[in-house]
């Protein structure tokens, strides 16, 4: 078995002795040729991990291995990793070809060889004719690709990307997401990508690590994170969820009953987690797991069934939703429900009476202590 391209072991960074660590015992390994993302809210320590891997920050503890060898004592200009910076950091004093050729020049590659490689990589990013352009004459998407080409031409073991799409507008970001994935597949290089945008992480990655307050909450495939979150943070952060807090009144087997603070009684699954009757717990249900119906009979098999009134209609084409205020719950309890794409409920209007229901298996319960 070959060593993974990048492996971090119990990586820790403390900026001040008395402050909580910015990165706290993070461990992960990235197999060769895969696309690994670190997803987390702003300030959780993503950039700090990147900077340690790139060599700009000294870890307070732990180890970083590239292809099985520790690189802690290797300075950043000698590490076989390259980084695409958040604001790209193209060299404004050089043209595109000089930017891309910079690393090769530093390696002492011969001039004709540099010209050939630069031409080659420009071809691969689909911009063969921009070599002589100045950096400030490029569009946002072109700069993006040049910044990636500048690293890829050096054929690094690992490419680090620090929110590279952050500065682009929404439309271009959507486009670059697909493009970036295609580029990664074409070059076959290992990508480590950090972002706070879950759709970027979910769409592009082979594996995603969800990070919160310096720690990894869960590492897994996009499907794992979405359908089988292991912590309340992941359940709340990845995708949209309806979320309730309350007290567990009964546990039988994998199923439990919860009295929410808003006054609803719900059934949920504990998925093997240790929750006992009397505990405080949190329950997450995805909007698309909730079925709307005209009457109770249509919701057969759902452990949770509520009757309510449509309080808001959120029309968004195929992703349309309604908010339902259940009967007998407080005014601030609203449940978001995805409308089926069949269009069966297209006629739903504000104030209509509906039934909603979901199975207990689709309602994940977590002990609440960890969530505070």
């Amino acid at each position: 078995m070959t060593a993974p391209d990048l492996e971090c072991r119990a990586l820790t960074k403390r900026f001040a002795p008395d402050a909580p660590p910015a990165v706290d015992g993070v461990g992960f390994s990235v197999p060769s040729g895969s696309f690994f993302s670190i997803l987390g809210p702003s300030g959780c320590g993503k950039t700090t991990i990147m900077r340690m891997v790139a060599g700009f920050l000294e870890p307070s503890g732990g180890d970083i291995l590239i292809r099985g060898r520790s690189v802690l004592s290797v300075p950043p200009n000698k590490r076989p990793v390259n980084m695409v910076f958040q604001h790209l950091a193209l060299f404004p004093m050089m043209n595109v070809a000089e930017n891309i050729g910079y690393g090769l020049r530093r390696r002492g590659t011969s001039k004709p060889e540099i010209a050939r490689k630069v031409g080659d990589v420009l071809e691969r990013i689909g911009l063969p004719e921009i070599g002589t352009r100045r950096v400030d004459e490029l569009s946002g998407g072109q700069k993006q690709r040049v910044a990636i080409a500048r690293c890829m031409v050096l054929d690094p073991d690992v490419l680090l990307l620090d929110e590279p799409l952050g500065a682009l507008d929404l439309k271009l970001r959507e486009h670059m997401k697909v493009e970036l994935k295609a580029l990664q597949a074409a070059f076959g290089t290992t990508f480590v990508y950090i972002t706070h945008d879950q759709s970027e992480a979910l769409v592009m990655s082979d594996a995603v690590a969800v990070m919160n307050r310096g720690r990894f909450e869960q590492i897994g495939s996009a499907q794992d994170l979405y359908y089988r979150p292991q912590t309340p943070f992941v359940a709340g952060f990845v995708g949209d969820s309806n979320r309730w807090r309350g007290r567990v009144t009964r546990v039988d087997g994998e199923s439990l009953e919860l009295q929410t603070d808003g006054g609803l009684t719900l059934r949920a699954a504990r998925n093997g987690r240790a929750i006992a009757a009397g505990d405080r717990a949190e329950v997450f249900v995805r909007p698309e797991a909730i079925h709307p119906a005209r009457d109770a009979a249509a919701l057969e098999g759902c452990a949770n069934m509520l009757r309510g009134e449509v309080s808001t209609l959120l029309f968004n084409g195929a992703a349309s939703r309604v908010r339902v205020r259940p009967e007998g719950a407080g005014a601030d309890t609203e449940i978001e429900v995805a409308l089926p794409q069949s269009g069966a409920f297209a006629g739903l209007a504000r104030g209509d009476d509906v039934w909603i229901g979901w199975t207990d298996a689709q309602a994940g319960a977590f002990a609440a202590a960890a969530a505070e």
Partner: protein
């Protein structure tokens, strides 16, 4: 209607600057140039000729002083850049928060006292019975009192000291505008410190370097007090010649010619520097 009032506003806004330029710079210079073209052929009798410029070219002392002043000024500028660049780099890129403001203030402090007092400060340090001389004797490095004043080195020290701020400020401004990530990207792509300095930092700082150098060069060239007070008998400065022609000899014609030669020199050197470094005046002046 709006066009006319906008134009009127523009004229009114520009008027003070235009007046200032015409009254204080253009008119005196034209007059000075006319004076420099006068040749005295008898008491109160003048003709127009280049005779004053001829005198300048014929007299070795004038030419020598002129060349010395130019070379020393270039040297002072280079030294100021050499010392100022690391200082500016440290302040702009490495120092953070309070340290940064304190260091910047330290560069400014010498300008709270007048140039005269500042130069006297150097005299107190460098004279025979001064601090440096005593220190050398105390350390056993010198047998008797050493005179460190009244030579070219003393002038150089004074010039560099006086000009430092004018070099450091534009450098800090341009270096500040260089994104740290760009420097880091240089390291990340395999650059070493010298290559990053050469290929990234210096090209980026070029407008600041050029504008700092131009200001320092002009200040040194036109300096009067420092060379007079710190320099010796042999270290004449060209401004001293101009002063003596105007004030001591009442030879305004020759003094004016000297002034114009100096103006020509600084213009040529500034133009040459801009050409050499591929900068335009517009870029440099922001």
């Amino acid at each position: 209607m709006t066009g006319t009032s906008a134009r009127l506003g523009f004229v009114l806004l520009l008027a003070p600057a235009a007046l200032w330029l015409t009254l204080l710079i253009v008119i005196p210079h034209i007059d000075l140039f006319l004076v420099s073209l006068r040749e005295r052929i008898g008491v109160g009798q003048y003709t127009t000729s280049f005779a004053n410029y001829g005198t300048f070219l014929d007299e070795p002392l004038y030419l020598m002083t002129f060349a010395r002043t130019a070379i020393m000024s270039v040297l002072a500028t280079a030294l100021t850049l050499l010392i100022g660049f690391p200082v500016a780099y440290y302040i702009a890129k490495l120092a953070r928060g309070r340290t940064r403001s304190v260091l910047f203030l330290l560069c400014l402090v010498p300008f709270w006292v007048s140039e005269l007092v500042r130069t006297f400060g150097w005299m107190i340090l460098l004279r025979e019975t001064g601090l440096v001389s005593s220190l050398l004797q105390w350390a056993g490095l010198a047998a008797g009192p050493v005179e460190l004043l009244y030579n070219d080195a003393a002038i150089m020290v004074g010039l560099v000291y006086t000009s430092m701020l004018f070099m450091v400020v534009p450098l800090i401004t341009t270096l500040d505008s260089l994104d740290d990530a760009v420097i880091e990207a240089g390291y990340d792509l395999g650059g070493s410190a010298p290559s990053i300095l050469r290929e990234i930092v210096i090209p980026h700082a070029m407008p600041g370097i050029v504008s700092g150098c131009i200001v320092v060069f002009m200040l040194s060239l036109g300096n009067y007090l420092t060379p007079i007070m710190l320099g010796g008998k042999d270290s004449l400065w060209f401004t001293e010649l101009i002063y003596s022609q105007f004030i001591l000899r009442f030879n305004w014609e020759l003094g004016a010619a000297f002034g114009f030669v100096l103006l020509l020199l600084s213009s040529v050197i500034v133009w040459g520097t801009l050409r050499l470094t591929g900068q335009t005046l517009r870029e440099t002046m922001g």
